[in-house]
């Protein structure tokens, strides 16, 4: 089981939710997981219904069986000052650099430095050990940038190592790359059963593989319940409307005759069945595409009541049952 679990996915697929559920699932039974946010959106805080996370590891949830989930929102500027402090004991000079805009410059414009700092901090947490020589965290789960940028984001260290040919940045970039390209890391992609996200997932996997980054699993999120099956849909096409009207009436929904309360429901209900049939066919196609990617495939249900903390625990349970942790 890889200790650094990177979760990416197209925008709108719920990758933050899946990352959080994964951290909860991995922390079960006394383990300790760190959930890391790199895009400054405070999505984790919103999900766990707590106030905004500072640049500091703090416990945000307890997993079933006594495990703990910690969270950290990495701020690239503070991470850079951290590094400078660590390597050079800069003290006040760090503040001077900030005043000059150097920190701003380094974290915003300097090629890839921002990404190096973010992945570097996550890798540091993966490698960190406590006084007794045990890993500080059993798992580090990263809520990573979206699929379209993930390969570049993870691979940027390679680029930086090439650009900065010597010096601590070069060494740091190489050290990070060693973790990211090892079996210690697994990159998971979250998708929906829709054409665009599935296509993006397939493209993303190809890019990750080309960059020799370890691809983990595909997780389909927000899978809607299968309410009607093939047989129902076939029957829906063949059944006379009057029969459906009678049946609705028998269920206590009013008159079945023309213009009756039950009769007026037939048309809209059958329309909904048609829409369902169309979606059902599309979803089956997309599922087949995902199965063709030859990665472990998981599905998480759409939560009828919307996403909340209870739902998050439900998804974590689902992931455990599906053997993801």
């Amino acid at each position: 089981m890889s200790r650094l679990q990177v979760v990416s996915g197209k925008g709108g697929t719920g990758k933050t939710t899946v990352a959080a559920a994964l951290a909860l699932a991995l922390a079960t039974e006394g383990k300790r997981a760190l959930l890391v946010e790199v895009e400054g959106r405070q999505g984790i805080a919103q999900l766990f219904e707590t106030q905004a996370l500072p640049y500091e590891e703090r416990k945000i949830a307890v997993a079933p069986g006594g495990g703990e989930v910690y969270a950290l929102a990495i701020d690239p500027e503070l991470a850079l000052l951290d590094y400078l402090q660590m390597f050079y004991k800069l003290g006040g000079a760090g503040r001077a650099l900030k005043k000059l805009g150097a920190i701003d410059f380094a974290t915003t414009i300097a090629p890839g430095l921002r990404d190096v700092l973010l992945t570097g901090k996550a890798c540091e947490a993966v490698r960190r050990k406590d006084k007794r020589g045990r890993f500080a965290y059993d798992y580090v789960v990263m809520d990573a940038p979206p699929t379209g940028r993930i390969t570049r984001f993870l691979n940027v260290n390679d680029e930086v190592a090439g650009l900065a040919k010597i010096g601590p940045i070069h060494n740091q970039a190489q050290a990070v790359m060693r973790v990211l390209k090892s079996p210690e890391t697994a990159v998971h992609l979250v998708t929906l059963l829709e054409e665009m996200p599935v296509q993006e997932t397939a493209d993303g996997i190809a890019e990750l593989r080309a960059a020799r980054l370890p691809v983990g699993r595909t997780i389909v999120n927000m899978v809607r319940p299968a309410i009607l099956d093939e047989a129902d849909l076939e029957l829906a096409r063949e059944t006379p409307r009057t029969a459906v009207a009678k049946s609705l009436s028998a269920a206590g929904l009013g008159g079945a005759r023309r213009g009756g309360v039950a009769e007026r429901l037939v048309e809209p209900l059958l329309n909904q069945a048609d829409e369902y049939a169309e979606r059902y066919a599309l979803e089956r196609e997309q599922r087949a595409v995902l199965q063709g990617l030859e990665l472990p495939l998981h599905e998480l249900p759409l939560l009828a009541e919307g996403m909340d903390l209870a739902g998050l625990y439900e998804l974590a349970k689902e992931l455990r049952q599906q053997g993801i942790s």
């Binding site: 379209g148 099956d229 076939e234």
Partner: protein, 487 residues
């Protein structure tokens, strides 16, 4: 409130809209605010794109909400209504790009074929090539020799290939260029899938201020700066900084940066001026921002944030496009009643066939079936979502759902109309629950921003990848307003 029928996607919506529209007509039709908390003003998309004063429409919002599709649909609609339009997309899905014939990334607007040009409009489309755009700016602002130095600099090559902020900046730069050419009546621009809404607005300023900021001047001409009165402390900071940077980045990279900065020196003024000009262009009266969202919590939270940010920057917001809104033709039947009726049908079957296993098994409520039906109506969603899809069953440890599915698939001929009807009712219940969830999310947004006009686009079961699909989206975009005005 949650069962408000106003969001149905067919004729029933029109009926429902009549009441709201009547209330709205009393005041300014474009910006009216309903007193009812649940509904806000309707955004008139056609009025916006038909207005010759509208020269730029910027579509923004979080990722995955259909921003690019909205931009393309708006562009097509405006063109078919007689305007000469160019759509600037950033990172379109392949098939959407192909539908407009812009799968070649060459940074030049291409005319889209196959549109209805009876109103003598034109549609052009282009996909942003970030690096090419950056190169063009350099070439425009530096002499040939200097331009070559810059273009070949490793630091520049990394910078222009797309690090934080470059894409946002180049999108705005390209927008400025297109506007300056005065070739089009209307420019519709899609924004990059930024990690946050902020980046896109900040990018021009940020890049602009860096490029002629203190740091750059320190890197280019430290001696000059150090000589100035009152700037001595900078000299200390500077030597410490170049020392540190040199150690951190390695000497070669620092040298590359300095060469780059020195070569760019003369063009910095140009960069800054352009960034400022683009920013002003966005604030100008001919520009309209559309915030795009889906009726989901995260997307609408981003949308609310964007609305506030645009107001703070004095950027003109036209309204919110709410994509993928679900409706139903039978909103008169609540989820609870539909589920109760489905239960009635299942019960009748169990009575019909004594010990009839089929009836029980075909109900998705297998594990709730020992409870009285009255308490069940609230929960059937959970078991059915557990049953999930075939693939979920395979990986799921939940055996009940799997058995259910297989037994029914094995014997389709055994299905009765009652079972079908029960299924239709459960499907309807799911739809109504979705509707009320969407309505709740929307109400939250409306409560925060009642002033924002909204255009709803009914959800499509599939994806869009041709002009007909885009036209259809355009119709749906405009339908919201026309149904409100028709009455």
């Amino acid at each position: 409130m949650s069962q408000d029928p106003a969001r149905a996607n067919d004729s029933s919506r029109e009926r429902a809209r009549e009441g709201e529209a009547a209330a709205r007509r009393a005041s300014d039709p474009a910006r009216a605010i309903d007193t009812a908390a649940a509904s806000s003003a309707v955004l008139g998309v056609d009025a916006l794109i038909d207005d010759p004063g509208t020269r730029i429409v910027v579509c923004c919002g979080s990722g995955g909400v259909g921003k690019t599709t909205t931009a393309a649909a708006l562009g097509l609609r405006a063109a078919e209504r007689g305007r000469k339009v160019v759509v600037l997309t950033i990172d379109p899905a392949r098939r959407l790009a192909q539908s407009m014939g812009i799968d070649a990334l060459d940074n030049t607007p291409r005319r889209v074929k196959g549109i209805d040009d009876s109103a003598s409009g034109e549609l052009h489309a282009m996909m942003l090539d970030m690096k090419r755009t950056f190169d063009e700016i350099v070439e425009a602002h530096a002499d040939r020799e200097r331009a070559a130095t810059i273009l070949n600099n490793p630091f520049y090559q990394s910078l222009s290939a797309g690090f934080a902020g470059t894409q946002e900046y180049m999108a705005m730069e390209k927008l400025g260029q297109l506007r300056a050419r005065e070739e089009w009546d209307l420019i519709v621009v899609d924004t990059p899938p930024s990690r946050s809404a902020l980046d896109f607005l900040d990018a021009p300023k940020r890049l602009g201020s860096f490029l002629d900021g203190k740091l750059i001047r320190l890197l280019t001409a430290p001696a000059k700066l150090g000589g100035r009165a009152g700037m001595k402390f900078l000299n200390v900071g500077m030597s410490m900084m170049t020392g540190t940077l040199g150690k951190l980045l390695g000497g070669q990279l620092l040298k590359d940066v300095q060469t780059f900065v020195a070569a760019m020196d003369t063009t910095f003024g140009g960069f800054r001026t352009r960034a400022d000009a683009t920013y002003k262009l966005l604030q100008a009266p001919g520009t309209a921002f559309l915030v795009v969202a889906a009726p989901e919590r995260d997307a609408l939270r981003e949308a609310a944030y964007f609305v506030e940010r645009l107001a703070a920057e004095e950027m003109p917001l036209a309204g919110l496009v709410l994509n993928r809104v679900h409706g139903s033709g039978a909103t008169q039947l609540s989820a609870e009643r539909a589920l109760a009726a489905a239960e009635n049908l299942a019960e009748a079957r169990i009575v019909d066939q004594v010990g009839g296993k089929a009836g029980l098994r075909n109900s998705p409520d297998t594990y709730g079936s020992s409870e009285p039906p009255a308490t069940e109506t609230a929960v059937p969603e959970a078991p059915s979502s557990d049953a999930g899809s075939p693939a979920a069953d395979r990986t799921s440890a939940d055996g009940a759902g799997t058995d259910d599915d297989r037994s029914t698939k094995g014997s389709p001929e055994g299905r009765t109309v009652e079972q079908l009807t029960a299924g239709l009712l459960r499907l309807h219940a799911e739809r109504m629950q979705l509707l009320s969830r969407e309505q709740r999310t929307r109400d939250r947004f409306t409560a925060l921003h009642p002033e924002v006009a909204v255009a709803e686009v009914a959800a499509l079961p599939g994806d869009v990848h041709d002009l007909a699909g885009l036209r259809h989206i355009g119709d749906r975009l405009a339908a919201d307003a026309s149904s409100a005005e028709a009455s």
